[in-house]
Amino acid sequence: MPPRGKAARPRPARVAVLVATRKGAWIFRGDGARRSWRADGPHFLGHVLNHLVLDPRDGRTLLAAAKTGHLGPTVFRSSDMGRSWKEAERPPAFPKAPEGEKGRVVDHTFWLTPGHPGEPGTWYAGTSPHGLFRSGDGGATWEPVSGLNDDPQYREWMGGAQDGTPNGPKLHSVIVDPRDPAHLYLGMSSGGVHESRDRGATWSKLLRGLEVVEGFDPSRVQFHDPHCVRICPTAPDRLWQQNHCGIYRIDRPSDEWVRVGRNMPARVGDIGFPMVVHPRDPDSAWVFPMDGTSVWPRTSPEGKPAAYRTRNGGRSWTRLDGGLPRSGAWWTVKRQAMAADAGEPVGLYVGTSSGELWASRDEGRRWGCVARHLPEIYAVEAAALA
C-alpha cells in the first residue's frame, strides 16, 4: 500500500544570481527556498564586467564579458561555475580594414546570449560599437556576423559613437527563437529592432508602431532606441520591449508593435531600461520604471522605486513595491540589471547603479535586499544550477 499524504513536490532547481559590475563580478547562490544567499566573489576585481551568463544547456559553463580601464576587451569562460577561468583565444573583434580605410574597433562586449538548445557551444555576442559576433566552440573563438556588421544599409543605421548611449552605442537583446535556431532578433541603441530568418545572413527591420523622441522622424531607423527586448519562452510569437519611448508588445506574425505602456499610471510613465518576462505565462511581464521627464533623470520616479507587473498582456499594470524603500531612493536600474528565475512562484532580481541587489521570491509582491555596497551594477542574471 502506498504511503498516504501529499505527493512530494518536485525539488526546484537551485538559483544562482550572476551580478556583473563596473569593478568585477559576484555570484550569489541561493538556498532551496531562495531565502538566504551566499556571495561568491569578487571575480575579476577591478575589471569592467558588462555581462555574466550561465549556459542553460549545461548549467555550469559561464561566460563573462570583460575589459579594464586600460586593457582591451575580452571574454572569459569557466566550465566549473567560476572556480577557474580561461580567456577566449580569439575574442570578438572586427576584421582588419584594408589599407587606407579606418577600421572599427570593439570597445567592449556588452551582451552575451547562449545559442539554441539544439546547438551546444553556440553563443552570440553584441558589442559596443554595434557588432554581432558568433562563437561555435563555447566562447573560445568568435567570428563577426558579416551579414549584419558589413551590410552598407545597417552600417548607416548603426551610426557613429555620437549616436549611441552615453557609454557608447550598444548592440543588445540578441534573441534566438527557441523553435528555430536560424530565427534571430536583436536591438541596437540607437538603431532599432531587427530580425533575421537565416542565421544572420540577412536582416530586416521591425519598427512599425514604435515611437521616437518628439520632433524626430520615426521613419528614420537611426532614431529608434529599444532599451531591452525579450521573447516569451513558452509563446515565442510574443515579444515585449522596453523602449526609450515606452513599453511595447508584438504578436507575430504581425509586424506592428503596440504601446501597452500607455496603460501605466501617468505620473509614473512608461520609460525605463529592463523588461522581464514570465517563464511560463506570456501575458505576464515586469518593468522597473525610470523618470523620463524633463532632462531624463533616469532614476526611480519621485525617488520611490517600484516594479510594475501586467498579468493581461499589458492592458493593466500593478505597482509592486513591498519592502522597497518608501522614499529617498534615487535608483537607476540598467537594461541588463533585472531578471526572473523559473521558480514557482517566479523569483525576481534587481541590481542598482548604487550597488544594491534586491530579490523577491513571490513575483515582486515583497522585496528584500540581498547585498549592499557593491560597485555599480551593470547586469543581473538568474540561472538554474545543474
Partner: protein, 85 residues
C-alpha cells in the same frame, strides 16, 4: 630582449620582466603573444593601433610606431596610463 610588463598584464606573464625577440616593435609584440597568448589584443586593437591607455617606451623613449626597428640589446617597457576612477 628584455620586456617590462605592467601589473595589469602580469596575469599573462606571471613575471614583471620577460624575454621576447623580434626586429620591430610589432614583431616583439607578436612573439610576446606567442609566449603569453592573449596579451597582445589587450594592448593593440584589431586595426593594429595601440590602445588608448597604453604606452610603449624603448630605452626610456616613447615609441608611437609599431614598425619601429628594435635591437636585441634594447629594453622595451609597456606602461598602462592609469585613468578614471
Amino acid at each position: 630582449m628584455k620586456v617590462l610588463i605592467p601589473s595589469p598584464l602580469r596575469s599573462y606573464t606571471g613575471e614583471r620582466e620577460v624575454e621576447a625577440s623580434g626586429g620591430t616593435l610589432a614583431a616583439v609584440l607578436a612573439d610576446l603573444d606567442r609566449r603569453h597568448p592573449g596579451l597582445r589584443f589587450r594592448i593593440v586593437d584589431e586595426q593594429d593601433r595601440m590602445r588608448p591607455h597604453v604606452r610603449f617606451f624603448v630605452n626610456g623613449e616613447q615609441v608611437f610606431d609599431l614598425g619601429r626597428p628594435l635591437a636585441p640589446s634594447d629594453e622595451l617597457q609597456i606602461v598602462q596610463a592609469l585613468s578614471g576612477g
